[in-house]
Symmetry: C2
Subunit: 330 residues, 2 copies
């Protein structure tokens, strides 16, 4: 889908006020996820455990903000989401709670855990052939053309961006509870840039640092070149299924370009090391994509101080995959 094809999404721009509205809604719905303190090379760092959300990822925030703002007429038409799994679960969870029919377009090679969980929330799952290069947005558009359902895009949507930003609102509040000023820096896993853009709106005084997996670091490249650059090779292997987005969207990039200095990429081995560290030090199950920001911090790629927050964005991983990571030592 091109930018020209999404006029309804561009009717408004996401704003800090929108994040505040979303934060109010989320606070009514869900307790804050914990902000855990742990030492990295002698410096206290703050870990925002979004893996402990009911769907195992922060995606519940944007989905809730989006779906609760639909009109009755829109709700009756149902919603369509496109996702490798975490946004899928977020939309399915919110739709179930609001009594809205949800159809989710998911890659056939998504983790079984994520596909089953999405179906478990009552959503209809339509699989597309990601390894074969099938265009997921085209599959979604066909469904929308047939049913008149509302698209809830995983990152290129003002409500979704504002909703994800509430992660930053909570971090600021939780640091304040401990007598600290807001975060100096928030390091976050980055796929299409929904969370990254939301954090930039929520925390205007913090440096926002997106981290992507090697080979899928299109946001890093886009920031470097000053324009949206897609992933060069859609077949580059990565274990970070949650961060396999082909390109960021204009609505996200407008915010990123203004607020984010640069992005970072992490290797598969650095991600595994981060998952093992989170297991041992925090007793958390973090999925590969959810551990990308931590990986950059542990690898010394991103500076830290006593008010650096690291988002652990999701925990949905298959047990056999996680067992392999625990057995690895690279």
């Amino acid at each position: 889908m091109t930018a020209q094809q999404m006029p309804t999404l561009l009717l408004r721009v996401p704003t800090p006020d929108g994040v505040a509205v979303a934060a109010g809604k989320i606070a009514q719905l869900l307790p804050k996820t914990p902000l855990l303190e742990a030492s990295v090379n002698g410096t206290s760092v703050w870990f925002k455990a979004e893996s402990l959300q009911p769907v195992g990822a922060f995606k519940i925030r944007g989905a809730w903000h989006r779906l609760t703002d639909l009109s009755e007429e829109q709700r009756a038409r149902g919603v369509v989401g496109v996702s490798s799994g975490n946004h899928a679960q977020g939309v399915a969870w919110a739709a179930k709670r609001l009594g809205i029919a949800a159809t989710i377009v998911m890659p056939v090679d998504a983790p079984r855990t994520k596909i089953e969980a999405t179906r478990g929330y009552g959503a209809t799952v339509v699989l597309y052939d990601r390894p074969g290069g099938e265009n997921r947005d085209a599959v979604a558009q066909d469904l929308i053309d047939q049913s008149g359902a509302i698209l809830v895009h995983a990152y290129g949507d003002p409500w979704v961006i504002e909703g994800q930003g509430t992660t930053g609102t909570e971090i600021t509040a939780q640091l304040a509870e401990r007598g600290l000023a807001g975060p100096t820096r928030i390091v976050c896993p980055c796929g299409g840039g929904g969370l990254t853009a939301g954090l930039a709106l929520a925390c205007p005084d913090a440096e926002i640092v997106p981290v992507e997996p090697e080979g899928w670091d299109d946001v890093r490249l886009s920031l470097e070149r000053g324009e949206i650059v897609p992933v060069p090779d859609f077949k580059f292997p990565t274990q970070c299924d949650a961060l396999q987005t082909p390109a960021t969207w204009p609505i996200n990039f407008a915010i990123l370009k203004a607020r984010v200095a640069c992005g970072y990429a992490v290797t598969a081995a650095e991600v595994r090391a981060a998952q093992r560290w989170a297991f041992a030090q925090l007793h958390l199950v973090v999925e590969p994509g959810g551990a990308a920001a931590l990986a950059a911090v542990l690898a010394g790629k991103v500076p830290i101080d006593g008010r650096t927050a690291v988002v652990l964005s999701g925990g949905n991983t298959d047990p056999a995959d996680f067992a392999k990571v625990l057995a690895s030592s690279d």
Copy 2:
């Protein structure tokens, strides 16, 4: 050590007021661990994630309450703890923060993770031969006789009992934040009965349900017979190292006898199933002993309702052991 040998510990009885004092101290020190909601067979159950404490277990509570109540003169003498690992880390963590020297008596077959973490907090670790039947209390007494240090018993200590009870104070407060009355029932892993007795003091209106591993269910047997019964076979194999206590103590049993109807035992396979469930549903790393209460709930041994709380008491487990559990399917 017999009851006759511990006169100083029996100078006072743990009380609900003592739990309230401890809760005030803990609230100053640590944020509440999350109370996570998840569905078990269609019923919402509340999971108290004590595995997310800084030392990976609730033991930090009792250790902090005990050590902060020591006089200057007592602090100067240092403390001795006896523990398979979680109490060890709790005492070591609190002692380090307070500048008190700590020596911990640990079994030679304790998880490496726990021994290393205890040393990491700066404590001196003295290993004893648990598999060979060496008496850990005698080893500790020798150290105390030599150094004049203060014993911080893992469960037979009024401060420790009160401190562990603050887990229940938090559960009650967190249910209230969600508009619910206090817990109807708290299901908790049980070793020597420190946590169980503390919860009974903290939550007088809740049914307290201790769960032990098969073969180490001496509290269950003791409640059945109305008197303290030790574990019949100290060599019975169990993966629940945190719950391998030979017998409860009079100070604990006095409370348990008055407040606890009965205990339950869970099998090794039930514990593994619970660890896998916590991985998949809650994205938490829970050690075998920490999963005992959840195991009893999932096995249908303990009834549940919408105000049942289950304590996940610890998350300190070796990665290779956890990988094996994830790969198992029993």
